[in-house]
């Protein structure tokens, strides 16, 4: 007979479960399982009232294990771990059984079968809890320093923020100068202060802070260690190459974006007078009094939007900054010379939020916006006289007849593309999305963290962003770094793999399969055995199943727990009849 005192709750989920699963029958079927001292059904296990009842029950009945059969652990694992903790029960003594997504919702056409499956799943959950042991979070000391990679507007602002909350900062920039893209920009929305000015202000702030060490012409060469205690090597590409070893607790990647480079011939790119948006912005930013190109006055400009973006099979995403940037540029052009005719050939104008007002201003200043039908993009050719460019397009608002605009300049509104940072991506093991930008864990809830603990992404390396959004995400990374490093210690989930040195014979198989490089070889009592860094291990369990000596166990999902679950599921859930004694 079991010594355990396990409480089991079977949730109706307000009908989501109980409409298909006979929860009372489930309760009756499991209430006499070994170790179960309490079993009940509840309308909503996650409700405040039920949580209070659970806490009371755990205390009164001195429960040492808790099973809730309800929804996916993705939804409420932490809820009931919290309930356990508040009741004085070790949170890792709690098991969640999913009888909603994996049962009632999946088997709505077979109530008896769903009930039978629920009984099996709950019994397996109880079996697993029989073997549960209290676990404590792993605590590691952290280094109160952050490495910021990339000194564009996001990286600069993040460095200042990090220094201000009391962390040491290494700001590493690949180029010779700080500032990235924004340093090259002229007047920016909304108050027309220039990008150069903004960067100068940030750089001045950086210089005021001795906590920030700025390294230019520098790149990350290697990274080892684990969250809280990374050891990085920085390569300095000066005339005399150099290398630095830096210890940091976290890393913020703010490596920015590149602009799309059209192919030669794409919308006439390569013909004199056909420019990309950044090239045109540079021309506008350096113009006063009149807009001239190669010394000739510019009378007509045609913009072609969405070049290199929103292309099926190519870059399918929208860079969304480019509409606003182009509309802004057209207003700047109008400020320089009101007599310049400007034609905007677009697919959709996405001047979201406050940029809409800019769009309206641009139209009122005389810019003509012409939507070309999908599938018939404009074309650009040199006029026979060789002086102007002929842009042929269709305007959906006038019935789509073919129109030719004689233009002095054609601006290809090019979007953002991911930077080619293969080395960095490999060193940091950063997750890259199908679009080539770095991926966060969750776009809304964990927007700057990556699956690599302590490595965050900020700015346009994550996907197209404007300066405002880049700075905001840079500051989010500051907050996350602070949350990780300011306590001085970090608590890590104890659900990691451990090695039994008695059994281990060091074959090296585990080290080969570990995707996180968490396994090393050490010598214990003269024998070579494996050791696993708890701070680096992610608890994936790869090594556990691979070990030929069964020397590795995964805490929280030990071999005995998994085997007892399998044994339980292998039994006929309804007919557990004692074998008749022969």
């Amino acid at each position: 007979m079991s010594e355990r005192r396990i409480g089991v709750y079977i949730c109706h989920c307000g009908g989501n479960i109980s409409d298909y699963v006979d929860v009372a029958k489930v309760r009756d079927a499991i209430k006499d399982e070994p170790g179960v001292v309490h079993a009940e059904t509840t309308l909503f296990a996650c409700s405040d009232g039920t949580q209070q009842d659970m806490i009371q029950r755990i205390r009164d009945e001195k429960l040492d294990g808790l099973v809730v059969a309800s929804c996916s652990p993705k939804l409420h694992l932490f809820t009931f771990r919290g309930v356990s903790k508040r009741a004085g029960l070790n949170p890792f003594q709690y098991s969640q059984v999913n009888i909603r997504e994996q049962d009632s919702w999946a088997h709505g056409d077979d109530h008896a079968g769903a009930t039978e499956k629920a009984i099996g799943l709950v019994k397996a959950g109880i079996a697993r809890t029989q073997w549960s042991v209290p676990l404590e979070p792993i605590s590691v000391k952290t280094t109160p320093k952050t490495l910021v990679i990339g000194a564009g507007i996001a990286g600069l602002r993040a460095a200042i923020g990090l220094a201000d909350i009391g962390l040491g900062v290494y700001l590493v920039e690949r180029e010779k100068e700080l500032g990235g893209w924004v340093a090259r920009f002229g007047a920016m929305y909304p108050n027309r202060s220039s990008g150069r000015e903004l960067i100068d202000r940030l750089v001045a702030e950086v210089k005021k802070r001795p906590e920030i060490v700025v390294l230019t012409n520098a790149e990350l060469a290697s990274k080892s260690g684990s969250f809280g205690n990374y050891v990085t090597e920085i390569r300095i590409n000066n005339d005399i190459p150099d290398s630095l070893r830096l210890e940091v607790g976290s890393i913020v990647v703010a490596t920015g974006f590149d602009t799309y480079r059209p192919e030669i011939g794409e919308y006439g790119y390569g013909i004199d007078g056909v420019l990309t948006l950044p090239e045109f912005k540079e021309l506008v930013d350096h113009s006063t009094g009149s807009l001239t190109y190669h010394g000739k006055p510019v009378r007509t400009v045609a913009y072609i939007y969405c070049v290199g973006n929103r292309q099926p099979g190519g870059n399918e995403y929208c860079s969304r900054y480019c509409c606003a940037a182009t509309v802004h540029a057209s207003i700047e052009v109008d400020r320089i010379d009101q007599n310049v005719h400007q034609y905007h050939l677009y697919r959709d104008i996405r001047t979201y939020g406050k940029f809409e007002l800019m769009y309206e201003e641009s139209r009122k200043r005389g810019s003509v916006y012409m939507k070309f039908p999908d599938g018939t993009p404009p074309s650009v050719a040199k006029a026979p006289d060789g002086r102007t460019l002929l842009v042929t397009t269709r305007d959906t608002l006038t019935g789509g007849e073919e129109l030719t605009i004689p233009a002095d300049l054609v601006v290809l509104v090019t979007g953002m593309v991911p930077r080619d940072n293969e080395e960095l991506t490999t060193i940091l093991k950063l997750p890259v999305g199908s679009d080539g930008f770095y991926n966060e864990i969750h776009p809304k809830l964990r927007p700057v963290e990556t699956v690599v603990d302590g490595v965050m992404i900020a700015g346009a390396c994550q996907g197209p962003k404007n300066s405002t959004e880049s700075v905001a995400s840079g500051l989010t990374a500051v907050t996350q770094s602070g949350a990780m490093l300011m306590k001085g210690v970090a608590e890590l989930d104890p659900l990691v793999a451990t090695v039994d040195p008695e059994r281990c014979t060091w074959c090296g198989a585990c080290q080969e399969v570990c995707p996180y490089a968490a396994i090393d070889k050490i010598t214990v009592d003269g024998r070579e055995v494996a050791t696993i860094s708890a701070a680096t291990c992610k608890g994936c369990g790869g090594c556990t199943s691979y070990c030929p000596d069964h020397a590795i166990d995964l805490l929280g999902s030990t071999t005995s727990q998994i085997e007892s679950m399998i044994d339980s599921l292998a039994e006929d859930p309804l007919e557990r009849v004692e074998e008749p004694v022969a």
């Binding site: 009378r299 007509t300 005719h341 034609y343 139209r363 009122k364 200043r365 005389g366 003509v368 012409m370 042929t392 305007d395 608002l397 006038t398 019935g399 007849e401 073919e402 129109l403 030719t404 605009i405 004689p406």
Partner: protein, 396 residues
């Protein structure tokens, strides 16, 4: 047919010189189209007319018959969320069209350069007065013998010369316009039944131009802003009918002398039918023109809100011709011919000549261009009917 249209980047700026409201603000929402009583099933009028100017589609704008189907009721401007004033734009586009159909550029000057335009008008009047006066004879003081003062044949042949000139200028404009519309609409005259063409002609000239059907009907404002006696359609109709009446009286007068019934200039009583027709038509026209002038002065409706020198020139000349005509008539029936009667006559004839000579170049030009557009409009209707009939036949 698929010739590429070149964009005229300066079109909108040019149209604006003719009084266009701020149509840069237009974002093609189509509220104007939704409310316009003339908008039909393709749902593009008047929105697309504005778009043509924004984009720079000059040929498309000038070959749009729709430009002239609008009578400026102003409903679109009332409903425009961008205050782009589409109605005023349409008026400006018509002025622009008048200026563009005329290749001498005189119409453009009359519209866009008030001082030069006025100087030209004055010079032309002075020229006619001087020219006619150079052949002057005696002023009888017993009764008003105007043709003793200015020889009838001189007026006659000068008149014919003026008519030939305006016929040439007007015809050139009409041909330019009609060819543009026909090309854009793809009208194949040879394939149309004669009845259809005549039907369209009747509709354009009879029903709409003379009958003023839409002007009175669809295109009157919902809430009239002026009292009945100077309502817009009334003033316009009286002006038009009065003018036509005077033209008819003049032609009859000439015709009667041709067939030897009565010599031109011979004394007749007030009730003599041709004289009576002239008198009544003159009253109608002077009344109508006076009301149009009052409306423009008071800016009492949408159409009267903005006036260009060319508009004033036309109205003032019409009024002057009509009013001076009455003074002559009064002088004719006075017991003793006053000497001012002769000078008023000279003035009257000079201004009338000028009015006719300037017809294709001032606001008056709408009288020749609008019927052309209305003809194509009616023709499109006839074509649609024809297509419908063919469909029925082929179905049967």
């Amino acid at each position: 047919m698929t010739a590429v249209t070149f964009i005229d980047t300066g079109l909108l700026a040019d149209v604006k010189r003719f009084g266009a409201a701020d149509v840069s603000a237009c974002f093609s929402c189509g509220n104007c189209t939704a409310i316009c009583p003339l908008s039909d099933n393709d749902g593009t009028f008047p929105r697309r007319m504005i778009r043509y100017a924004q984009v720079g589609m000059k040929d498309a704008l000038l070959s749009s018959k729709e430009l002239w189907t609008c009578y400026h009721c102003g409903k679109c401007s009332d409903s425009c969320p961008q205050q782009a004033d589409p109605a005023e734009y349409m008026a400006a586009a018509r002025r622009y069209a008048i200026a563009s159909y005329d290749r001498t550029r005189l119409a453009r000057t009359m519209y866009t350069r008030p001082f030069v335009g006025s100087a030209i008008a004055l010079l032309v009047a002075v020229f006619f007065a001087t020219f006619l006066y150079s052949a002057h004879g005696s002023q009888s003081n017993r009764s008003l013998k105007v043709f003793d003062f200015i020889p009838e044949h001189l007026i006659h042949y000068t008149g014919i010369a003026v008519m030939v000139l305006i016929a040439l200028a007007g015809l050139a404009g009409i041909v330019t316009m009609a060819r543009g519309i026909a090309r854009r609409e793809g009208v194949q005259f040879r394939q149309l039944p004669l009845a259809g063409i005549f039907g369209a002609l009747w509709n354009a000239i009879g029903v709409e131009s003379i009958g003023q059907r839409r002007y009175r009907g669809d295109c009157s404002e919902i809430q009239e802003t002026e009292p009945l006696y100077r309502r817009r359609w009334l003033a316009h109709s009286l002006t038009l009918w009065g003018f036509l009446g005077l033209l008819g009286a003049t032609l009859l007068d000439y015709g009667l002398s041709l067939i030897g019934v009565r010599k031109t200039g011979a004394a007749v009583p007030v009730w003599y039918p041709v004289r009576l027709l002239g008198t009544l038509a003159g009253i109608a026209m002077v009344y109508g023109v006076s009301m149009l002038i009052v409306n423009r002065l008071l800016r009492s409706n949408r159409a009267a809100k903005e006036s260009k020198p060319s508009d004033w020139m036309f109205l003032v000349m019409l009024w002057v011709v009509g009013f001076s005509g009455f003074l002559i008539e009064i002088a004719l029936y006075l017991p003793h011919a006053p000497s001012w009667g002769y000078w008023v006559f000279l003035f009257h004839v000079s201004v009338a000549m000028e009015l006719m000579l300037l017809l294709p170049f001032i606001k008056f030009a709408h009288a020749i261009y609008r019927p052309v557009a209305l003809f194509f409009y009616a023709l499109a209707g006839e074509q649609a009917k024809q297509a419908g009939r063919e469909e029925l036949t082929s179905a049967a």
